[in-house]
Every structure is written in structure tokens, then in C-alpha cells.
């Protein structure tokens, strides 16, 4: 314990490994990314929206989705940020650019990392394409980033 402002201070850590089941729908999505480098969405039977990434249910309609649709690996950048704060949570070293991307054929946007890009030249409206990792493990980071095209 150290002393600060006239009080003992006890540093502690919470160290726990978690393992989350992603569910049947996200599993299929990740397997398509991992094995076939394909980006899949699902269609809501009620509102007809194509949800990418796919969800078991449409959050707006609370309807179970069942129809799979392949969408493009290219899309349009809607919004971006460049984050400078370092954190153990970041998958890559900062500065790290994130983008909200509307993939061709999808009705929702996908959030992901932007790469191979001059940080000063990111512009909403620019076209981007998914770049896949060489070693893919079946999670959202199998898409390494989206690069401008």
C-alpha cells in the first residue's frame, strides 16, 4: 500500500479471462470471413433490412432473421475518427482510425478499423474495401481493416 492524501491506497487488479459464445448467427458470419473471406448479412423478414454484421434478430422489429445474403467487401465511408489514446484494449497501436462503413448491398453500417490510409486524407464518402488477415481465427478482427480504393 502507498500513502496519498493521508490515506492508505491499495492497488488491485481484476484479472479474468472471458470466453464469450457468439451465437449461431455470428458463428456463421465469422466462419464465412475465416474460410471464404466473404461478408454475409441477414434479411429481417419484417422490415426487409439487410443487417451487416448479421444478427439473430432484428433489434428494431424483434423478429428472428433467417435469410442469408452475401454483401460486397467494398463500401462507402460514412464517418471516421482517429484515436490517439493508447490502451491495452486497442488491437493496433495508436493513432488508430475507425470508420463507419456502408457496405454495398447492406442496409446497416459496419464499424471497423481503417488502414493503409493517410490519416490526414480520410474523407467521408470515400470508397473502401475490406482487407483480410492472413491468419484468420474466426472473429471480427479477421477483417484486418478497410482500405481506401
Amino acid at each position: 500500500m502507498s500513502e496519498k492524501e493521508d490515506a492508505v491506497i491499495l492497488p488491485t487488479r481484476i484479472v479474468l479471462p472471458f470466453s464469450y459464445s457468439v451465437g449461431r448467427v455470428a458463428s456463421k458470419f465469422f466462419i464465412e470471413l475465416r474460410d471464404n473471406k466473404r461478408i454475409m448479412g441477414v434479411k429481417c423478414p419484417k422490415c426487409g433490412q439487410i443487417l451487416v454484421p448479421p444478427r439473430r434478430y432484428c433489434g428494431k422489429c424483434m423478429a428472428e432473421t433467417n435469410e442469408w445474403v452475401e454483401v460486397g467487401d467494398k463500401g462507402t465511408l460514412i464517418a471516421y475518427t482517429v484515436t490517439y489514446r493508447s490502451s491495452p484494449n486497442l488491437p493496433k497501436k495508436p493513432p488508430l482510425a475507425y470508420g463507419i462503413i456502408k457496405l454495398d448491398g447492406a442496409d446497416t453500417n459496419i464499424v471497423h478499423i481503417l488502414g493503409e490510409v493517410d490519416l490526414d486524407k480520410i474523407k467521408p464518402g470515400m470508397r473502401v474495401q475490406a482487407v483480410f488477415k492472413d491468419q484468420r481465427e474466426g472473429n471480427i478482427l479477421d477483417i484486418d481493416y478497410f482500405k481506401p480504393i
Binding site: 491499495l10 492497488p11 456463421k28
Partner: protein, 164 residues
Amino acid sequence: MSKGEGKEEVKEEKDLLRVSINMNLEYRWSGGSYYTKFYRAWKEERKILGAKCSSCGRVYLPPRLICGECYKKIDGWSEISDKGTVKAYTVVYQPFVDPRTGKPRPVPYGMALIQLDGADTTINYFLEENDLSKMRIGMRVQAVWREELEGNITDIIFFRTIEE
């Protein structure tokens, strides 16, 4: 609660994926007025101080701000012995992950609720003993301390059975 006793879990399928995310978050806890006084006396004077409610006279371990029975701010202190009486005991066999390290805590170990002489509450702590046949309610125990005190509850290694 016991893990893995269910009969009807959904079987592991290779097309059902999981993602692993490790939590490793740091916190700095302040001892405030009462833990600061308590652990200073503990470390510097090798004393265990109970927090004494001036209204009902209860002596609390751990020390705390408010006596919940009286809704009075506690401002008295009362010295407590490192010897006490076992009010309840067990041996824990079930392994589990210690959230301070992310690693399993070794089992089995003996534990007891010990009423230290001078306290109205009990402290739950490790016993040196982990043989059930040698444990009983009412047995006397004494804290075994680390040589160098850090000013932390883990300065007590465990409680050892004593004959009086």
C-alpha cells in the same frame, strides 16, 4: 454452485465459435479514514483495532463508517486480540479462479468464522488446519503473521489451533 453437472448442454460443435477477451483492469482503492487508521495501527503497532459504536457498543471487524443497527457514525476504537474462537468452519474443495491473479486458488483449504476476543463480529479467514476431523466449533485459534507486515489483511497467513 457446481460447473459442468448439466446433462443437456448444447454439444460443442465446430461451427459454434467463442471469442476470448481478457480483462486486466487496475483499481486503486482508498482506505479512507477508518481503513487507514486500522491498517496503520496494524502495521506500525501490530494492533488489531475494532470500530466501536458508541451508541450500541458493538465492536466491528472490519472497521466501517456507519453502525447499521443504530445509523450512527462510528468514531470509537477498541483493541482486539489476534486470538479467537471458531464459530463455524469448513474445508473448501471446490477450485476456482482468484480474480486478483486470474489463476486457480489451490484447494483444499480450511476456513473458519472466527470471533476474535474483543469483537462482536466474526472474521472469515484461512485455517492452518485442513483436516476436518481436527476442527470443531469452539476451538481456539491464533493468527500467524508474516514477518514483515505490509499493512494488508494478507499479513495474516492463517489462524493456527492453540491449546489454552
